[in-house]
């Protein structure tokens, strides 16, 4: 779940960047980060890329992540593709993506098969009932952390946009595409106008 919290802007001293990774090294590195990444891969990706392999500075990593954060779709998948392509073009993008998704995909398929077969067993039922309560709690914590900056800034427009999306999707259960096709342009225009006014 931490994959949705943007990484804190760490002002680490600039460390010398090591030589660019090979295609195989990209695959291996992303496979390792992905399999270590319980509850979200971002923290591990950051540690692997910036601290362990020194393929990017902390600042470059934050910039790359920011690009991926406002593209649609799974952020960390986007990050693997953007990162891989920066070093080794299409082959690098595919290698990083395959490393990120391949191994956990196999694991997940095994879990899915086990669940399809044993999902009704009482022990598993109880375990999953407990875990899903905890998982919701973790999600609430992530949302609260993301909400803090909006509250601190007293960003009324942002808070209203957030609330509107919550009501439309969570309570009214409207289709995602419809809601976003309305909400994104409105939010863009208002943000643009406010910034221009402030400037």
């Amino acid at each position: 779940m931490p994959s949705n919290t943007p990484p804190a802007a760490v002002s680490a001293p600039e460390i010398p960047i090591s030589s660019p990774p090979t295609v195989f090294a990209l695959f291996l590195a992303f496979a390792k980060m992905s399999l270590a990444g319980f509850g979200g891969v971002l923290a591990f990706a950051r540690r692997g890329i910036v601290e362990e392999h020194r393929w990017m500075t902390a600042e470059e990593f934050n910039e790359t992540f920011a690009l991926c954060h406002f593209l649609p779709g799974p952020n960390i998948v986007n990050l693997s593709v953007v990162f891989g392509s920066q070093f080794r073009g299409v082959a690098g993008a595919i290698a990083a993506f395959a490393g990120l998704v391949g191994p956990p995909l196999m694991l997940m398929t095994v879990l899915a098969a086990l669940y399809a077969r044993y999902g009704d067993i009482e022990v598993l039922r109880r375990l999953l009932a407990g875990v899903s309560c905890g998982a919701v709690g973790l999600l609430i914590a992530v949302v609260s952390k993301m909400l803090l900056p909006l509250l601190k800034r007293r960003d009324l427009v942002g808070l209203f946009a957030m609330l509107a999306v919550f009501v439309a999707i969570g309570l009214l259960r409207l289709p995602l595409q419809l809601v976003l096709l309305v909400a994104v342009p409105i939010s863009l225009v208002i943000t643009f106008l406010l910034r221009r006014q402030a400037a």
Binding site: M1, S3, N4, S34, F38, G40, T64, L67, C68, F70, P72, G73, P74, N75, I76, V77, N78, V81, S85, Q86, L100, P104, L105, M108, T109, A112, Y115, V123, R126, L127, L128, G130, V131, S132, C133, G134, A135, V136, G137, L138, L139, A141, V142, V143, S144, M146, G158, M162, A164, V165, F166, I169, G170, L171, L176, Q177, L180, V184, S187, T191
Partner: protein, 177 residues
């Protein structure tokens, strides 16, 4: 599974489209996945959806792999593969092309503007996710309390989230939730 003429095709269409609209990542797309899988196609029950969410959080790898579990439930191994690729490939392709373009406009103001406009929307989507899964998972008062305790622990401490999941799992095993 429910007499759908071609489940593979509806997986491709569903997740391929969702891929391009999931602003804020996989956790923001949970309500839409729930709407499609439980309410529209009846691929699974509310309870099964909560189970699958729990499983996806328990295993390593990107959160988006919850679609692997949904795909498997719909059409077995082929479904798992197809759902995963449909959810990842469109947006990954977009990311590949857009990143080259954005790398050249890093100094421009509009990426920051777009992000400022989108962040509140993705928080709203994730709050809706929590609400949707909570409706399925928190059926008793004790379950609600466990969720609140997990939320407070994860918010206020730097505890590894996996421990929190395991702790609530043990409470569940003990029959308390």
């Amino acid at each position: 599974m429910n007499g759908e003429s071609n489940p593979i095709r509806s997986l491709v269409v569903t997740f391929g489209l969702m891929s391009l609209f999931a602003v804020g990542g996989a956790n923001a797309a949970i309500p839409e996945m729930h709407r499609v899988a439980v309410d529209i196609h009846h691929w699974m029950t509310d309870r099964e959806f909560a189970d699958i969410y729990a499983l996806s959080q328990l295993s390593p790898g990107p959160n988006v792999l919850i679609v692997t579990l949904i795909g498997y439930q719909v059409a077995g191994l082929a479904g798992a593969l197809v759902a995963t690729l449909a959810m990842c490939v469109p947006t990954a392709t977009l990311a590949y092309y857009v990143s080259g373009f954005l790398a050249r406009s890093r100094q421009a103001h509009w990426p920051a503007l777009v992000q400022a406009a989108l962040v509140p929307l993705s928080i709203g989507l994730m709050a809706a996710s929590a609400f949707v899964v909570a409706q399925a998972a928190d059926r008793t008062w004790i379950a609600v309390l466990a969720t609140l305790a997990a939320a407070i622990l994860a918010f206020a401490t730097r505890l590894n989230p996996l421990w929190i999941l395991l702790a609530t799992g043990v409470l569940g095993l003990a029959g308390l939730i």
